[in-house]
Structures are given as structure tokens and as C-alpha cells.
Amino acid sequence: MISEFMTGEHRHCDAGFAKAESAASEDDLEGARSAYAEFEAALLGHLAMEEQVLFPAFEAKTGMNGGPTAVMRMEHDQMRGLLGQMQRALSGGSLDDFLGLAETLNVLIQQHNMKEEHMLYPMTERALGGEATAIIERMRAL
């Protein structure tokens, strides 16, 4: 249940990413800006769900603080760093820089998602068991 919900989130972010990247590749600066804003909001929202609800619940239940979730948080920081650079590229009107950064962010996100979808989410599901519905509700409420 948690896996499905979070994987759906990932695909939703992917769709937003593809839209912003397409607009940028067609030299549509305005389109890229608005699609990017939507994508950034979706991604930041997703990261917040994990960092504020899902990871703390997992850590509390398993006592694993320095393990997998620490690596995931670090990769989230790397994503936020790239988002900041992409934002600056768009403000400066440099679509080439934006596309190079977008490519980098995509690979970072995809390898990160794979680790979450294949390993962390299933582990979380096992650890949290019956609390899944409540956790999803709390994430939705953010």
C-alpha cells in the first residue's frame, strides 16, 4: 500500500519533469518556467512527505537512523541543490544549462527511486504493517 502510493508519487513527478524538459528543449522559456514550477512543487512535496512522515516512522519502528534513510536524505539534499541551480538557469534564461541540469537530476532521481521502490518502501511496509493507512493519510495532509 505504501509502495503503491509512493511509486505513484514518483510517476507523477516524472510526468511533470518530462513536461518542463520538453518545453525547454523547444526553446519555450515561458512554458518551461511554468511547467518547472509545477514539477518543483510536486517534487519538494514528495520529499517532505518522506522526510517529515515516512522516514521518521520507519526510523522509530526499526531504530535504524544512520542506515538507508540517511542515504536517502542525503540524495534529497543533492536533488534540492540541483533544483536551485535549475531555478537560477531559468531565471537567467539559459535553457542549455537548464537541460544539462535536468538530465543530471533525472538520473539522480531515477537511481534514487529505484532504491526506494525496490528496497526501502518494501522494508517500510513490513516494518509499519497496519499503520500504513494512517501514515498515508498523514502524508496526504501535508
Binding site: 516524472d14 510526468a15 518530462a18 524538459e21 520538453s22 528543449s25 542506515g67 538507508p68 542515504v71 536517502m72 542525503m74 540524495e75 543533492q78 541543490g81 541551480q85 542549455d96 544549462d97 537541460l99 544539462g100 541540469l101 538530465e103 543530471t104 533525472n106 538520473v107 539522480l108 531515477q110 537511481q111 527511486n113 529505484m114 532504491k115 525496490h118 528496497m119 526501502l120 518494501p122
Partner: protein, 433 residues
């Protein structure tokens, strides 16, 4: 040799990079050999030069990159960390380099000592690789399709290595009775299909949906393709061993499986959500078209539509090795290397508080510029076309070899540029105080 469940990002950059940077050198060596010997090299698959250049290419270029990539990908794909990657990766690399060189020297000089040395080095190098990566795959915390598929592919490499060792022993110790022709067919089919095609297929259903944002491959294919290839190879081996006329069936099955895989990949690529194209995508498309052509020509050859032993009979192998496998491997290098450079620089910056906030690592397209990668793709495509034409008009083989040399030189140059940029940036980060 591995610790279970680690989501850490990657082994040190030097571990995969040494494999990746060596591969173009071996590719270039095979091109130089073709340039030097000329059309006679490809008179048949049994000429010493053909055997030497096939192994320089398949071991020194393809297997080299595939081994480096597995050291790199294991933690990300299956959540297993290889411990002491620098040590094991370093030893594997040195043994693979020296073993491939000895083997090629053995084919060219027919010196038994060269073959003996090659057997020891390659058995140790690839054996160690199989132990390290195999242990990791066996300890994977969750049995996904990719883990299963990689196990099958590593099994394919083990069988290929076993046949290869037997054949090389026959060269090293002339008194050993070896059934050279059927064993070579087995070695070749397991190497190309059980190892190269199986691993590429397993990697593709991870990376195609991820990087190109396509729908997923059908679960039944993900689950059974690699296993199916190996079962058909066993069937082929048994039917060939007992001289059973039915060995066409498993071969036709293998060809159909690969055509299905390649066709499906091309179809998925038409349905991708990203609209931005890149060299990686062009390489995948070229590779899949070449795979379909290789399979069709292999069937045609089996049905007696090509003169056996002729130069043209080499077309399926050329299409498979240079058209399919090298294309996909090159395309992957253009994704993996720039990302790893970015990732490791990012980590360096993270470790230096003074650099944080003041330095940003160059993005992937700044590590290897897209026009340079694209130019290399054109060289590769032109070289492949000319090489295939050279099988019909042998006069074109030397020009084809020159183009291959240029293509590998440019691939190497692009990768070295990335490595040098990494060094430069590391120095810049370290200078921040």
C-alpha cells in the same frame, strides 16, 4: 565479500573508470589489427587474426565495460555493497587486461606459452569477478527480476569461461584431445547470448523505462528472458553434442527471443514520455536494429541461404558484436560516466564545508558535451556500415578499420576528457579553505 542492504551511492570512481577507460584501447587494438592484416583477417572465423581481434573486442572492450559497470551498479540495482571494491576491482582489471593481451598474442603467434599464461590470468580474473559479483547477487536482500536475470547472465559468463578455458588448454598443451569445432560453437553461443545479450537485456529493462520514461517491459519477459536464453542454449548444446538434427529449433528460438526483445525495446522507445533525444537514445535504437538484423541473418545462414565459411557468414557476428553490443555499451557509457563524475564531485563538495555553497559540480552535459558524443556516434555508425559493406567488398575492410580506429579514439578521448575534468574539479574543491 559483501554486506547486505546498503543504499550507499557508489564505490570509488576509480573502480569502474579504470575498466571504462581501458575498453577503447582494446577496441582500437582490434581495429589496428584489422588495418594491419587487411581483408585476409576476415577470410573466415578461424583465421588467427579473426580470433585475436574477436577476443580483443569481446573481452577487452565489451566484457571490460560490463565488468566495470557491474561493480558500479550492484549497490544501486540490488542494494548489495561490494566490500573492498578497489582491491577486488583492481585485481580483476589487471588480470583481465593481461589475460586478454596474452590470449590475443597466443592466437597471433601460436605460442603455447602465451595460451598457458592466458588461461591462468583469465581464469583467475573472471573467476574472481564471478565470485565477488556472484556473492553479492546471492546475498541480495530481495529477489527482483533484475537480480534473477543477472544471476543467469553471470552463469552464462561462467559457462563461456569454462568452454574458453578448455579450448585454450587445447592450444597450450597440444597433446590434449579437444573437439575444437563443436566446443567453439558452444563457447561462442554462450558468450554472445548467455553472457552479453542476457546481461544487456537485464540492464535494459532497468534503464530504458528509467532514463527514457517509457512504459515498463512486460513482466513475463523480465522474468523469463534471461532464463529462456540459457535453457535454449543448453538444449542447443545437447542437440549439437549428440549430433541431433533438431539443433535448428533452439537456435530459431534464441533468434526469436532476441528479435522480440529488440522489437519491444524499439516500440517502447516510441512511447517514451521524454521528448528530448540524446546520443544514448540513438545508440539504443541502432543497437536494437542491429540485433534484429543479426538474428535474421543468423537464421538465414542456418537455412543455407548464405555460403558457410564465407566472409558474409560473419555478418551476424559483426552485427551482434559491433552493431548491437558495442552500441548499447557505448550509449550506456555516455550516461554512466558523466553522472558518476557529477556524483563523486558532489560528494567531494559535501565533505568540504568551505566548498559547500561556493562551488557547484558541472552538470552531465558539461562533463561530456553532447555534440562530441554525437560526433562519435556518427563515426561508430559509419564504421559499422563500412565494415558490413567490407564483408561483400573486401577492399573496404581497411578503410572500415580506419574508421573504427577513429571511433574508438574519439570514445576514449570523450571519456578521458571527463576523467580529466574530474581531476581538475577535485583540485578546485580541495583548494577551497
Amino acid at each position: 565479500m559483501s554486506t547486505a542492504l546498503s543504499l550507499e551511492q557508489a564505490p570509488p570512481l576509480s573502480v569502474p573508470l579504470r575498466f571504462f577507460l581501458t575498453a577503447p584501447l582494446f577496441g582500437a587494438a582490434s581495429a589496428v589489427l584489422l588495418l594491419w592484416v587487411g581483408p585476409e583477417a576476415l577470410q573466415s572465423r578461424w583465421t588467427p587474426a579473426a580470433l585475436a581481434l574477436t577476443h580483443l573486442f569481446a573481452l577487452g572492450a565489451l566484457t571490460m565495460v560490463m565488468c566495470g559497470a557491474l561493480f558500479q551498479m550492484l549497490p544501486v540495482l540490488v542494494g548489495v555493497k561490494v566490500t573492498r571494491p578497489r582491491l577486488w576491482g583492481g585485481i580483476c582489471h589487471v588480470l583481465l587486461v593481461l589475460g586478454t593481451l596474452s590470449l590475443a598474442a597466443g592466437f597471433l603467434t601460436a605460442a603455447p606459452a602465451s595460451f598457458r599464461l592466458a588461461v591462468i590470468l583469465l581464469a583467475a580474473g573472471l573467476g574472481l569477478f564471478l565470485v565477488v559479483i556472484g556473492t553479492g547477487l546471492l546475498r541480495a536482500p530481495r529477489l527482483q527480476d533484475s537480480v534473477r536475470g543477472m544471476r543467469w547472465a553471470c552463469g552464462g559468463l561462467a559457462v563461456t569461461l569454462g568452454f574458453g578455458i578448455t579450448l585454450t588448454l587445447g592450444h597450450g598443451w597440444e597433446s590434449l584431445p579437444i573437439l575444437r569445432v563443436p566446443l567453439t560453437d558452444l563457447h561462442l553461443s554462450w558468450g554472445l547470448l548467455g553472457w552479453v545479450a542476457a546481461l544487456i537485456a537485464v540492464v535494459s529493462w532497468q534503464v530504458i523505462p528509467m532514463f527514457q520514461m517509457t512504459p515498463e517491459y512486460p513482466p513475463v519477459l523480465r522474468r523469463w528472458l534471461a532464463a529462456g536464453v540459457l535453457v535454449l542454449l543448453v538444449w542447443f548444446g545437447i542437440s549439437a553434442a549428440v549430433n541431433w538434427p533438431g539443433s535448428t529449433w533452439p537456435l530459431a528460438g534464441l533468434a526469436l527471443l532476441l528479435i522480440a526483445f529488440a522489437g519491444l525495446t524499439l516500440w517502447l522507445l516510441t512511447r517514451r514520455r521524454r521528448t528530448v533525444g540524446d546520443t544514448n537514445l540513438s545508440y539504443w535504437r541502432l543497437g536494437m536494429v542491429a540485433l534484429i538484423a543479426a538474428a535474421l541473418l543468423a537464421i538465414a545462414g542456418r537455412l543455407g541461404m548464405m555460403v558457410p565459411g564465407s566472409r558474409l557468414a560473419l555478418a551476424p557476428a559483426v552485427l551482434f558484436l559491433a552493431g548491437f553490443a558495442l552500441s548499447v555499451v557505448s550509449g550506456m557509457l555516455y550516461k554512466i560516466v558523466p553522472f558518476l563524475v557529477w556524483l563523486h564531485l558532489q560528494q567531494r563538495i559535501g565533505e568540504n564545508p568551505a566548498a559547500r555553497g561556493s562551488i557547484a559540480p558541472p552538470n552531465m552535459r558539461a562533463v561530456i558535451r553532447e555534440p562530441r558524443a554525437r560526433a562519435q556516434w556518427w563515426l561508430h555508425t559509419a564504421a559499422l556500415t563500412l565494415l558490413l559493406a567490407g564483408l561483400v567488398f573486401p577492399i573496404l575492410l581497411r578503410p572500415a578499420a580506419l574508421l573504427w580506429l577513429a571511433s574508438f579514439a574519439m570514445l576514449g578521448y570523450n571519456l578521458v576528457t571527463a576523467a580529466r575534468l574530474y581531476r581538475r574539479e577535485c583540485a578546485r574543491i580541495a583548494a577551497c579553505t
